[in-house]
Symmetry: C2
Subunit: 426 residues, 2 copies
């Protein structure tokens, strides 16, 4: 039988009624003649609540113990879902990450999957069961329970889909798919029918929260097709897959924004070789992830180096910076958590230099100042004041006509649409 993997997020299993709705969907997929493996997140805000309990006990909870604590959430969700499916007369069995053979490295709180040993899952499928697997968790090479970081259940699902040779991996969530912008900010935002892995990677890295970045990397690396869709309806969602010719024609896929980053500036850095290496080596050693980096033109042999990082990392960054600023002879450092990042993503950006310029113009017309710029071949990101973020998203969305029927074909403003009547997405 063909294997399909379905992943359900926390809002999809938030209470008994929703768990039963998910169970009905799973039973439907099973009765349609598939072997079904279901990966499930913790119910609702369980993980956050467990984190609050840990922080009530200790400001810095022991990472190994924190992972044991947080994995309770998926354990509860998986067993309840399995109970619901069994209650509908379809045999189901649930497995923790460890039982499912999700082997990770030993980095507690942000472990990476290094192997999948799906022997027990295969046996359970062969015995006729629907298999439920706890997302977000695994067991390390040191036999300790680990977690994969926020959104890690997506990666669990993709990794199992790859290991089991699944037809595709369905990611059920509380939104209908991937949109040209966050519909809560831009009501005109349009659901995309398909995006390439590369575009999805840039969107995820730029603040689109619908998929964990690493899960998209894993899917691309293993050729797993993803279908991101809503658990509250039956419509198709957004496919994430290899780019094809029709996709490539689209210049811009969407606008993403992120407000969970802060800007850190190292002030008055001596402008000599090796300084940047020292700063960013020290951050990497502490496990701080750095997104954008900008170095100003130097004056009088000194310059400023700015970078963006998750706000959550600010306490750790402050510790590193106190040490490193002195080491490299900088004048000081400052953090600014009042920023937002707005990004334009599209496979066609690489071939159209006008896109970045048009984006900057859209912001300028709104009187929004750009503090940092960073680009990849399929993305342009600008750091602006946080309070302008929503206005910026709407301005860029309108400028590139992303809401239009042929939105994805429209292109840096000023150019003619090559084929305005064609379908926007393949």
């Amino acid at each position: 039988m063909p294997v399909i993997v379905q992943k359900y997020g926390g809002t999809s299993v938030a209470d008994a009624e929703r768990i039963r709705a998910v169970a009905r969907r799973v039973v439907g997929a099973r009765e349609a003649g598939n072997d079904v493996v279901v990966v499930v997140s913790a119910m609702g805000r369980t993980t956050d609540e467990l984190m609050v309990m840990a922080r009530e006990i200790a400001a810095l909870p022991t990472p190994r113990e924190l992972d044991l604590l947080l994995t309770a959430g998926e354990r509860i969700a998986m067993s309840l879902l399995s109970i619901a499916i069994n209650d509908m007369g379809v045999p189901a069995a649930s497995y923790t990450g460890s039982q499912a053979g999700i082997i990770t490295d030993t980095r507690h709180g942000r472990a990476r999957i290094i192997d999948i040993r799906p022997g027990r899952i295969r046996e359970a499928l062969e015995a006729g069961n629907v298999v439920i697997v706890a997302g977000f968790q695994g067991v390390s090479t040191a036999y300790d329970v680990t977690t994969l970081g926020r959104g890690g259940s997506d990666t669990t699902a993709v990794a199992l889909a790859a290991a089991l040779g699944a037809e595709f991996c369905e990611i059920y969530t509380d939104v209908p798919g991937v949109f040209t912008a966050d519909p809560r900010i831009e009501p005109e935002a349009r659901k995309l029918h398909a995006v390439s892995y590369e575009e999805m990677l840039e969107l995820a890295a730029s603040g689109a929260r619908v998929l964990q970045l690493r899960s998209v990397e894993y899917a691309r690396g293993n050729g797993v097709m993803l279908h991101v869709r809503s658990s509250f309806g039956d419509e198709d969602g957004t496919w994430v897959r290899e780019a094809d010719e029709r996709m490539e024609k689209a210049i811009v896929s969407g606008v993403a924004h992120a407000d969970n980053e802060a800007k850190v500036t190292v002030i008055g850095v001596p402008d000599r070789p090796g300084v940047a290496a020292t700063i960013f080596r020290a951050l990497a050693d502490e496990g701080v992830s750095v997104d954008m980096i900008v170095q100003n033109v130097s004056h009088d042999g000194r310059t400023d180096v700015s970078f963006t990082s998750p706000k959550d990392d600010l306490p750790r960054i402050a510790g590193v910076m106190d040490r490193v600023a002195e080491e490299v002879g900088a004048e000081g450092h400052a953090a600014d958590d009042g920023i937002a990042k707005v990004s334009l993503v599209g496979a066609g950006i690489r071939s159209d230099p006008g896109v970045a310029a048009a984006m900057f113009a859209a912001l300028a017309e709104e009187g929004i100042n750009i503090e940092m710029i960073s680009t990849s071949s399929i993305r342009v990101s600008c750091v602006i004041r946080a309070e302008h973020a929503e206005r910026a998203v709407r301005a860029i969305h309108a400028r590139f006509n992303l809401a239009g029927e042929a939105g994805r074909r429209v292109h840096s403003p000023g150019a003619e649409s090559a084929d305005p009547g064609a379908e926007a997405a393949p």
Copy 2:
């Protein structure tokens, strides 16, 4: 270093503040020069809440999945306690039942420990850690997660104490020890300094909830000394250990009562060999535990057979009885859940036939009718109407002068106290 095992019940770890208090106590035991292994129950009413969630999903949750669900409670408690101890600067590591090598049979919901493989625990102790172990749970020979039934954490603690050769096993709970009666019912009830394993077994079987019956059996079988005490103070509690001479002198240790049982009567049973065997074989096959059994004198070749069982088992019993009553040619069956059981326990009962008579007299003087009687060598139990239970406990407690200084030495009324000035307990 000597190993001590401490077990903390749910009320002892009900919130962050109490978890920190437990952590301080554990750290104290560690700093006193012991290797400390801590077994912990789920916080407060977590297990009950998880059970409610399961029943919202399905009337009869799949046993395997239910065990996975319920074990989340101890997982949360153990990791939070470990976080608290680490936060006090003492290294601690927590382990699930499976990780701790608690091997059980495959009876989900009421598994029995069949082996302890404490290799990981020993390694963690040798590495200088306080070790926290989730109570109530294990892993079956089929590699599935199992639970040990209500109060199973006591058994986890005793089994680990036996496997690790611990000096003794401390059972921390929300009461100061084992009393001559439930102090909520009899304010004059007195804490016992020590009871024998046999007395504790009878007390536990008779409704004293301070220790799980099986944990006492395990302790007796392995010679593990128990110390039942309060986690909210520092006073000594009650020791449970081998009977010694001074204990034996005491005739009556205490009065216990239970209101969680129901009486089932099979009516008009043909009075011929094999009928009782058929009835109780069928109940055993369904895993129904039966406590007292009474068969009336027969009239006209027919008799009534009554037994008591946990009220929770009534739905299953009804199913069995529908089938069995027909099979044995009985006229019918009836259940009565309005009963209570009152028991008098004491090592000296076996040598003093007047004890039972004095107990029946105490009930008669209160006008309380006795519906069933059952005795062992150190216990006399009476089934009465539930509404009379508290009055019965007080009447028996007074009759045997259990509140008195020499309470345990006083004996069937009418006899002279041999040594009224001596300490009641060793």
